[in-house]
Symmetry: C4
Subunit: 209 residues, 4 copies
Amino acid sequence: MTLADAAEELVRLGTDFHRRSWMLGTSGNLSVVLARDPLRVAITASSIDKGRMHPRQILEIDNQGVMMRAAEGKPSAETLLHLEVIRSIGAGAVMHTHSVWTTVLSDYHHANGGFHIEGYEMLKGLEGVHTHEHREWIPVLDNNQDMSILAAQAQELFAAHSNIHGLLVRRHGMYTWGKDLATAARHVEILEFLMEAVGRRQMMEPQFS
Amino acid sequence: MTLADAAEELVRLGTDFHRRSWMLGTSGNLSVVLARDPLRVAITASSIDKGRMHPRQILEIDNQGVMMRAAEGKPSAETLLHLEVIRSIGAGAVMHTHSVWTTVLSDYHHANGGFHIEGYEMLKGLEGVHTHEHREWIPVLDNNQDMSILAAQAQELFAAHSNIHGLLVRRHGMYTWGKDLATAARHVEILEFLMEAVGRRQMMEPQFS
Amino acid sequence: MTLADAAEELVRLGTDFHRRSWMLGTSGNLSVVLARDPLRVAITASSIDKGRMHPRQILEIDNQGVMMRAAEGKPSAETLLHLEVIRSIGAGAVMHTHSVWTTVLSDYHHANGGFHIEGYEMLKGLEGVHTHEHREWIPVLDNNQDMSILAAQAQELFAAHSNIHGLLVRRHGMYTWGKDLATAARHVEILEFLMEAVGRRQMMEPQFS
Amino acid sequence: MTLADAAEELVRLGTDFHRRSWMLGTSGNLSVVLARDPLRVAITASSIDKGRMHPRQILEIDNQGVMMRAAEGKPSAETLLHLEVIRSIGAGAVMHTHSVWTTVLSDYHHANGGFHIEGYEMLKGLEGVHTHEHREWIPVLDNNQDMSILAAQAQELFAAHSNIHGLLVRRHGMYTWGKDLATAARHVEILEFLMEAVGRRQMMEPQFS
């Protein structure tokens, strides 16, 4: 994938996620692997308005998060967590979104370190899941402005839970990923759907969990 | 109806239902009868992204679900349930959607095998219903990855309840149908509206059901 | 206003209200006065899909609801209630919509015959209201398939409450109106907003009303 | 910034906020500073439909709210509060919106004079906030049709709380601002997101606050 193709796709996805209220204001960032050896990644620049993105705001970085060519803006601190997901999981694309439901559930469940989503057909939209009789663990990390700490916690998490498809950061948002852009973008849709479904299910019957 | 016309209409409907969050990711499938004798049906291929559908992903199948001509993709296992609805009910089109409200209500009511929707004017949007003083039974089947079991349960259901307009599968979604595409698509809108209305009505007054 | 201009505006409004889920399926109807003496009214035909309206589906009727010229379709029974609002209130346009929140609140409050909305700034969007310190009565009529009964109940209501801006029919929807199309359409937006606000306010604190 | 550029941007923002249901009917108003010395401000005219705005409805006013050139319409009474924000805070743009969630929360919290939003990553979308460990005070003023009283209360508020980014008026809506239009518009998105998140968080667990 060329940087130009990646930039066009990331702008399309970011604009769509903004419209759906999953990346409001300057929140969130999206990345896709351009080459593996050596690693080169296309990623949204820091602090750009997701409702008015353009391709010049997509940066090309190396495996340390250093920019490889001139562009508009610079990488955000959260680039570290994108690179950790790419390294630990082998992901080809990483999506970091901020929706209302992921924010609410990350707060509600953080004391237990996360929660399970189980028995929903929509789980089959997650790569490698072939039955609704699947028990998906959604870990919740504490938020931290020091992204090296968050990245280290994510690394531990991936070592302990090799088969997760996303994670939440408390009162912050979601990270999900996939082997390629289409898979990662589908995981955003699937996980957002599941979050809203389990959130509304619980509100209908407060003693339910 | 030609396959080309059917493909165009199914893409239009699928794209619209994706936009409304009723067929996110690769979830759901839509079908329409092209000819009765012998039966030929146009149906969405398995595992296609409903946000980026194109007409080549609409398949023509026979009464066993076998593809009648080359196309992009293959039928999903849920084709069996579409064919059962077409046979048992005589439907001309079948819509299988996955919305948040149908998912939530299917779980809430599954222990009772379903629930009634009664007294709503919007029920008159269902074919053959001419007054709000109608009591519509919404059955809920347990989910199952073996579609031959689900199809057999649906067949029993249709024998016992000849006048239903849709059914839910637990934590999965809705099947509805109609004599033609326009009727089936209207039933999706009507039933989605009614699900949200009864869901919110109950949340306003938890002891209410 | 010519019938052609009225048809164009009613199609625009109906399409917009469908998109906002206030006139799903074939639900709802819209009308506007073309001339007063003798009365001629443009109104949406019965049972048309509000997502795919076109100007040929707008009918011209007289003060008895009789069609004045050939068109696609025929008047719905609810035309009687539109004509009652035009006669009793002197309205220049009438909007009948079916939203989730009006449906839910009409059911919740019907035992009291209605409810008040008071203290909201948005009330000033209703014609003739100049302060938030206004107490708007929202009457709820029982639903009835005999529109002559509903029209007679509305006539009584208008005699008793000359300053209302809309009414609900239980588990059915809303009627609102205005001196012209723009005012009536604004009343739909304003009342829908207020319904959602009072509905969510109450859900936040169940003992609250 | 010229009046023509300001008008184009205010129409774009108002149309977008209407589409998102934050400025329904004729509610709300938007302004931007054109020059500081002497002060000249572009502001939306009173009582215009936010779904059908056009640039001729954007007025140029001086520091007393007096119109500086002919245009369509006149300033609304709320212009006084815009000018107070511009003077007291030094804001370059002011946005006054009416959403469901700000309306609901303004009512719920008004007895305490406001509420805190704390610990959310999205707070970093507010100018000058660099960590989620921020405690943002959201003051709630009582509504009043005398805008000189509201403006005086806002002046006191700004003196006591120099670091707030917005305020609510009870059962009315939100005022927010920024150094320029893009910042003020981002603050609308960020605060609307946070209001919905804290509102839904509380509904999930009623004893929570």
